[in-house]
Each structure stands twice: as C-alpha cells, then as structure tokens.
C-alpha cells in the first residue's frame, strides 16, 4: 500500500476507535466549558434568551456586591477542611483495625461501605429525619443535651449536621483504599523496626504514616472533590438553610442560574469556582506528593 493510502487508513481507524469518545467529550464538556467563558462576559437571562456582551460587569458584580457568594465559598471551604480531616482520620483508624485478624472483618467492611452506595438525595432526606425526629427522641430518652440541640435549625447545627452525614457516607470508601494500601506495606520493614526496639507510637508516626502517603494523597483528593463539590446532600438535608448559611458554592451557582435566571452571572461564578477548585486541587496533590517517601 502507498504511503498516503496508509495514512488515510490510519486516520479512518482513529476516527472509528477514538472518534465517538472525542465527539461526545467535546460536545458535552469542552464546548460548554469554552462557551461558558464567553457567557461569563454577557448578560443572559434564560436558555432561549440572547446573551448581550457586558464586559467584566458580572465579575465586578460578584466581587464587590455579592456577599452571599463569598459566604458560600467560605462555608464550602470550612466544611471541606473539617470533613476532610475527620473522614480521613477515621478511615485510617478503621483500616488499621480491620487489617487485624478479626472474625467479623467482612461484615464490618460491608456495613461501613453501605451508606456509600445510596444516592445523595436519599441520604440527605434520611438524615433530615434522623437529625430532626430521631435525635429529639434520643434526647428525651438519654437526657443528653447534644441530642436536644435544635438540629438543622441554626447555622452551627446545620454545619455539623452536614459534617456528620458526609463522614458517615465517605468513611467506608476511603477505608477500603487505606486497607488495600496497608496490606501492601512491606512487613519486613516493620519487623526490622520492631527488632530495633521501635514502640507503637514511633512505628505509627515514623513508618506507617509516611509509607502511606500515596494512599493519603488519593484519599485527600477524593474527599476534597466530594465535599468541595457537594450539592445533592446539601439540597435535600438543609436546602442551604437556615438563612442560606449552609449554601455551598455548587448550590449557589445552581440557584443563581436556574432559580433567579441570571445565566450570565452564573457562568461568571462557575469560572471563578473552576479556578478555585483547580488551584486547591493542584496545591493538595503537590503538597502530599512531596511528602511521599520511597520504602
């Protein structure tokens, strides 16, 4: 076959193999993303309306007048960091126990993972019932003031309510990853350290945790993207309330566009949101990767 015939054949095959994936990817993600940058400089009030170029007006409006956006950003940030730390510490702890020779190991793993398979909307509603009705009943029975708090009725209880639900949901998933990693750690290294007289705490902080940094990188990344992008659990648990105090950025953008009809401002917010997510993710991955060591 001639040289050019072969090239045409290769291009044809590339179209068959790569074409469909690339086509849908460009249509559904790349094109909307790029046109979103254009829309962020327009005033646009609905899917069928015509966008009108307004320059940097939307960004000025958000940066100087939209306090709710920054309240949402700050809430999302605090919520993410809190949940990130709690879920990872718990997941790591659970994993340390579950690698021991327990009789109920498989059952425990199933139970801890179970919340993860249920959709966010359903989880939010389940916990709305637990936090409001369940907790007050437990409060009456046990007389513990923790349960008698006005759950979901104040900004603080809304915040911690969300932290509880996210922790309950995510721990099992991260635990699975930590278990897989811990089982792979070279036992010879641990034995050598043990022979040298290393105690439990030393073993943990100086050997197990540093060797687990690759798994920690992955788990922090996952927890970060789950909580920073949280939408459906928030919508069904608190709807962003009370007084928009638990409104995440994802929810704020959704409301801006689809409830208030400000598509242009919504697009501008989504660009800012993308930049924030990008910067935080890069920073996290780079920092934790730096802490990884060779065994």
């Amino acid at each position: 076959m001639s040289e050019s015939g072969n090239r045409i054949k290769q291009a044809g095959l590339a179209t068959v193999f790569l074409g469909p994936a690339v086509f849908f990817f460009i249509l559904i993600i790349v094109f909307p993303f790029i046109s979103g940058i254009y829309y962020s400089f327009t005033e646009w009030n609905g899917v069928n309306a015509t966008p009108i170029w307004v320059g940097i007006n939307n960004f000025q409006q958000i940066l100087f007048h939209d306090t709710q956006f920054f309240t949402s950003l700050w809430f999302t940030f605090r919520f993410t960091v809190t949940t990130l730390v709690i879920t990872n510490v718990l997941a790591f702890g659970f994993a340390m126990v579950l690698i021991q020779p327990l009789r109920t190991k498989v059952l425990l793993r199933t139970i801890f993972f179970l919340p993860n398979v249920i959709g966010g909307v359903l989880l939010g509603f389940i916990w709305r019932f637990i936090l409001v009705n369940g907790f007050s009943t437990i409060g009456e029975i046990t007389k513990l003031s923790f349960f008698a708090l006005p759950w979901l009725g104040s900004p603080e209880t809304g915040f911690w309510g969300l932290v509880i639900v996210y922790t309950w949901r995510s721990v099992g998933y991260l635990m699975i990853i930590y278990i897989a990693h811990l089982l792979n750690i070279d036992t010879e290294l641990m034995e050598a350290a043990h022979m040298d007289g290393a105690g439990g705490v030393y073993m943990f902080t100086r050997i197990i945790v540093p060797l687990s940094m690759p798994a920690i990188t992955v788990c922090l990344f996952l927890a970060l993207s789950w909580t920073f992008k949280s939408f459906d659990i928030v919508l069904s648990l608190t709807s962003g309330g009370p007084f928009r105090s638990t409104e995440t950025v994802a929810l704020n953008i959704y409301l801006e566009a689809f409830r208030y009809g400000n598509y242009g401002v919504g697009s501008a917010k989504s660009i800012l949101y993308f930049l924030v997510v990008g910067v935080i993710t890069l920073f996290q991955v780079r920092q934790t990767k730096k802490m990884e060591v060779e065994a």
Binding site: F17, A21, V22, F25, I28, Q100, G120, V121, F125, F129
Partner: protein
C-alpha cells in the same frame, strides 16, 4: 504471654468496631422501623418498634411515586449509558495507549483535566447545547449527555489498565493475519475484562444515583428516575414522614440489593478505581 495479650487487644478492638458499626447502622434502623408506623406513632416515639404495622405506607408510596415506572427509567438510563460508555471508552483508551501520538497524549491530558472540573462549570452552557439538540425531556438525550460527561473517568480507568497489558498477544494475532477489529474483539476485550467490571460497577453507582443532570434534563414526571421521584415527592409532602420514609426505603432498596450481591466486585472496583493519576 505476648500472644495472649495481643489476642485480648484484638478482641477489644473488634468489640469497639462492632459497636461503631451498630452506630453506622442506626440511621437505617430508624428509617425502616418508622416507615412501618402510622404517622402519629412516628412523632410520639421515633425509637420504638412499631406496635401496629402500617403496610399502607408502602402501598401508598409505591403508587404515589409510580415506583415501577421510575424504576424502569433508572434501569433503562443506567444500563444503556454504561453499555455505550464501555464500548466507546475501551476503544478510545486502547487506541490512545497503543498509538502514542502527540494528539493522543493531549487528549488524555484533556480527559484527566475534565475529571477535576466541577459539573457546575459546564452546567449552564450545557443546557443550551441540550436545548439546541432537542435532548430535553428525552431519556436518550440524557444517555447521550452521560456519554460525554462520564467518558473521562471511564477512559482514565481503562487507560491505566491497558498500559499494563502486554502487547505480545496483539502482535502475534497481527502476524497470524487478524485485522485490527478482530484483534480488539477477540484479544483485547477478554484481556481487559476485569477493568470492564470495575467500570460497570463504579459507573452504576454514579449514574444510578445521579441527581442534578436528570433534574435539569428530565422535567417531565413520566421520565423521572428514582432520585428525582423521591425528591419531588418530598417537595409535595413535606414532613409527611409516614409516606416519605416508606418512599426512601423503596428508593434505596434496588441499589442496596445490587451492592449486597455484587459486594466482592464493588470493593475490588473501589480499590482498582483509586489508582493514582
């Protein structure tokens, strides 16, 4: 002595974990138990077992959310999306791994970057695309959107896996006179089977439970999926917990059963899905 001490420590740890596990299950206890009570009893004492079992909560919920219809919508959307995702994802990934061109490298980078991009960053203009292509209020429309939206993660999973699959078999088949389609069909697909299972499991959990895309695309009642039906039910019957809890149990039921039966694969899928990028 040390052996005995160690065994005691493990025993104590196990007991502690069992207690924590019971705490984890407590929400399910509350929901299931109360879903069987009449309304008044739920408000009086949410912790007790039901005195009279109110099956009517379930028959009510079943007909109010049109369970059979929303269940079949969920099945239709999830299974077809995944079928096509597996086909186009595995083909694209194999091509990108085996043909190491600049363009393919760039495409892979774009796929990975898209995985980090929040949905909200494409959501608003996407709705315009969906409207212009007449995909609104169409289950096929939603499936086509998933083909774009879920491709990056699918490619990411396959790509990492295929890199570790030796090329010798494919080369041998080529020498034996197989064409590229035969190689893909008879050599590659069987070799990447375990990753296909992982893709199916992880995408099932994601697409079955997805809420925002169906909310934006399927506003017509008759097209609702399970999460949408539960959501609009709650909008209608705020705090009617007797109906609502039964609805929640019905809504959870299919995916929980799926998990319990496929557990081994789900856990394995989570493990192999978490390889570092």
């Amino acid at each position: 002595m040390i052996q005995v001490r160690r065994r005691t420590i493990v025993g104590v740890m196990e007991l502690g974990m069992v207690l924590i596990a019971m705490l984890f299950l407590a929400p399910f206890y509350f929901v299931v138990v109360n879903s069987l009570k009449p309304f008044g009893e739920i408000l009086k004492n949410a912790a007790s077992l039901p005195r009279i079992i109110a099956w009517s909560n379930y028959t009510n919920a079943f007909s109010k959310i049109k369970f059979l219809s929303v269940f079949s919508n969920s099945i239709f959307i999830t299974s077809l999306s995944i079928l096509f995702l597996v086909i186009i994802g595995s083909m694209a990934s194999w091509w990108m791994v085996r043909k190491n061109t600049k363009f393919n490298g760039l495409m892979f980078f774009a796929f990975v970057a898209a995985m980090v991009t929040p949905f909200q960053s494409i959501m608003i203009p996407l709705m315009r695309v969906v409207t212009d292509f007449h995909l609104l209020n169409s289950r096929i429309g939603l499936i086509l959107v998933y083909l774009g939206y879920s491709t990056p993660f699918t490619v990411f999973l396959y790509h990492g896996f295929i890199k570790s699959v030796p090329i010798q078999m494919e080369e041998a088949a080529l020498i034996d006179g197989c064409n590229i389609f035969q190689i893909f069909l008879y050599i590659v697909i069987p070799m990447i089977r375990s990753m296909t299972i992982t893709v199916i499991i992880l995408q099932t959990l994601l697409i079955w439970n997805d809420f925002l895309l169906p909310l934006l695309i399927l506003s017509k009642r008759s097209l609702h999926t399970i999460p949408l039906a539960v959501f609009s039910f709650f909008g209608q019957y705020t705090n009617r917990w007797d109906y609502a809890l039964a609805t929640l149990v019905l809504g959870m039921f299919p995916i929980v059963i799926f998990f319990l039966f496929m557990q081994k694969y789900v856990i394995a899928g989570v493990r192999s899905g978490s390889v570092k990028g």
